[in-house]
């Protein structure tokens, strides 16, 4: 209080009423691209103003509002209230089908785990892109297993708990075997002889180059 009295004595003009000072602090904090310190506030406001006091009023005014005056280091800024953060996010849910490359790679890993990238490639007959493995890793359906004790000590891939969860399996051993697949008719879906080579191959070649996720 005494400091303010001093200021008032020094000043040729009377300082604006505190309600006006509060408005000034409000406008400055709002428009500034960075948090503003009390010192900077005082420098920018007319002589005789007491930014610290104006801030006390302003902070009180914004208590419980959708935005609050927060202290950042020794500076102040407006921030949206924490309980409003849900409004600052727009959630969009997109469901996409896994690409053929990804589902095949996943199938191979689940049936052959632990399996190296080279082995996956051998089974698929085409190379496996980094993106495909990354996607499966990101989905947390596969993870790295132990390294093979073979030359080069290649890393292996295994399926995860969330993979089992997602596909409703107790363990990877529950996956139906070839015999069961055949019994279920899944292995009989062969294209007629003579037609299977050309289109299959062609399609594969294309996919191979891009290995894009299907939109």
């Amino acid at each position: 209080m005494s400091e303010q009295d001093d200021n008032r004595e020094e000043s040729l003009f009377e300082a604006p009423p505190i309600s006006e000072q509060e408005r000034m602090v409000e406008a400055i904090l709002f428009a500034s691209a960075e948090p503003v310190s009390v010192r900077d506030l005082n420098n920018r406001m007319p002589h005789g103003c007491d930014a610290a006091e104006a801030l006390v009023h302003l902070r009180k005014r914004y208590l419980g509002r959708g935005v609050n005056v927060v202290k950042v280091g020794d500076a102040f800024a407006f921030r949206t209230s924490a309980d409003m953060s849900f409004l600052m996010k727009k959630e969009t849910v997109e469901t996409r089908k896994l690409s053929r490359a990804a589902i095949e790679t996943l199938a191979i890993i689940s049936y052959h785990q632990p399996v190296t990238r080279a082995e996956i490639e051998e089974i698929r007959g085409v190379s496996v892109s980094r993106g495909t493995l990354d996607q499966l890793l990101e989905l947390e359906w596969i993870r790295f297993g132990r390294r093979r004790m073979s030359p080069g000590r290649p890393v292996t891939f295994i399926v995860t708990e969330s993979f089992l969860d997602h596909f409703g399996l107790e363990s990877a051993r529950d996956l139906p075997g070839l015999k069961e697949l055949r019994a279920a008719g899944l292995l009989d879906s062969r294209p007629p002889p003579g037609t299977e080579m050309a289109p299959e191959e062609g399609g594969d070649g294309d996919e191979d180059q891009s290995e894009l996720f299907e939109e």
Binding site: K89, T92, E94, L98, I103, L106, L169, L178, L186, L187
Partner: protein
């Protein structure tokens, strides 16, 4: 009408030997600045200010006269004039004659008064737009007088991409892969493919002992009989090798009926 001309020569800032120094300076500024004009209409508007009247009551005849003198001055000072200044000069000369001469009943088209009124309207409209522009620019402007939030908080878009894949997709994919294997004679997985050359080499070494009719399936290499893919490849290669040997006259082949075992035995050299 003639009085307008007289009035003009007294007041004109652009012409006359008896004009004041200030007027002369103003006139020269006008001319030297011709590049600064935004076209003939702008010049006319500037000239009209010397009349110090409401634009609606302006003497267009007087104005036309001023403009034509302005053009002459500019020409005498060898100032390059854009074509549209000259077009306006020609049009104003035409307008002047229409305003000065009694209307010719035989002539079509708008009267001099109509044309003059329109020119006055154009000038008034341009003036109004200039004033409006000034008012607009004088408003409290965003980023100059009024400010937006300095630290905008961006709305983060959280894209939840869920990938759909069912157990069926997984099994179908696997089945597809395995099925493809069985049908891929071109497959480069060498260990499950027996080539004709390999089979032939093997057969050449063995047929010497085939004195009796023997099922060619017994010639499959060890370990190639159980895996269907390998068995298929080995059988095909062995059969092809047998045909090759038969062609060479080294063996005989016999099959008693369709799908019966294919038998082979050594053929004695002729």
């Amino acid at each position: 009408m003639s009085s307008a001309m007289g009035e003009f020569s007294e007041e004109s800032p652009v012409l006359g030997s008896d004009v004041s120094v200030a007027d002369r300076i103003a006139a020269e500024a006008l001319i030297v600045d011709v590049d600064g004009y935004e076209g003939p209409l702008d010049v006319l508007l500037t000239l009209s200010r010397t009349q110090k009247v409401d634009l609606r009551k302006i003497s267009v005849l007087h104005l036309a006269q001023q403009y034509l003198l302005f053009i002459e001055q500019a020409k005498s000072l060898r100032i390059e004039l854009a074509a549209d200044y000259l077009v306006m000069a020609a049009w104003l000369t035409f307008l002047k004659s229409r305003l000065l001469l009694p209307p010719d009943p035989a002539e079509d088209g708008p009267s001099g008064e109509e044309l003059a009124a329109h020119l006055a309207f154009q000038l008034e409209r341009l003036q109004a737009m200039r004033e409006a522009a000034a008012k607009l620019m004088a408003r409290d402007r965003l980023g100059r007088d009024i400010f937006a939030r300095g630290i905008p908080e961006h709305v983060s878009t959280i894209r939840n991409v869920t990938y759909s894949a069912s157990l069926m997709d997984l099994m179908q994919a696997y089945a597809r892969l395995r099925t493809k294997d069985e049908f891929r004679p071109y497959v480069m997985e060498r260990e499950s493919v027996l080539t004709l050359e390999q089979a032939l080499e093997r057969m050449r070494g063995l047929v010497g002992y085939a004195v009796e009719w023997t099922d060619i399936s017994s010639y499959l290499p060890d370990g190639w009989g159980s895996d269907p893919a390998k068995r298929r490849s080995a059988t095909a290669a062995t059969f092809a090798a047998s045909l090759e040997l038969a062609k060479e006259g080294k063996v005989e082949i016999h099959q008693s009926e369709t799908f019966a075992p294919i038998l082979l035995r050594k053929r004695d050299a002729p």
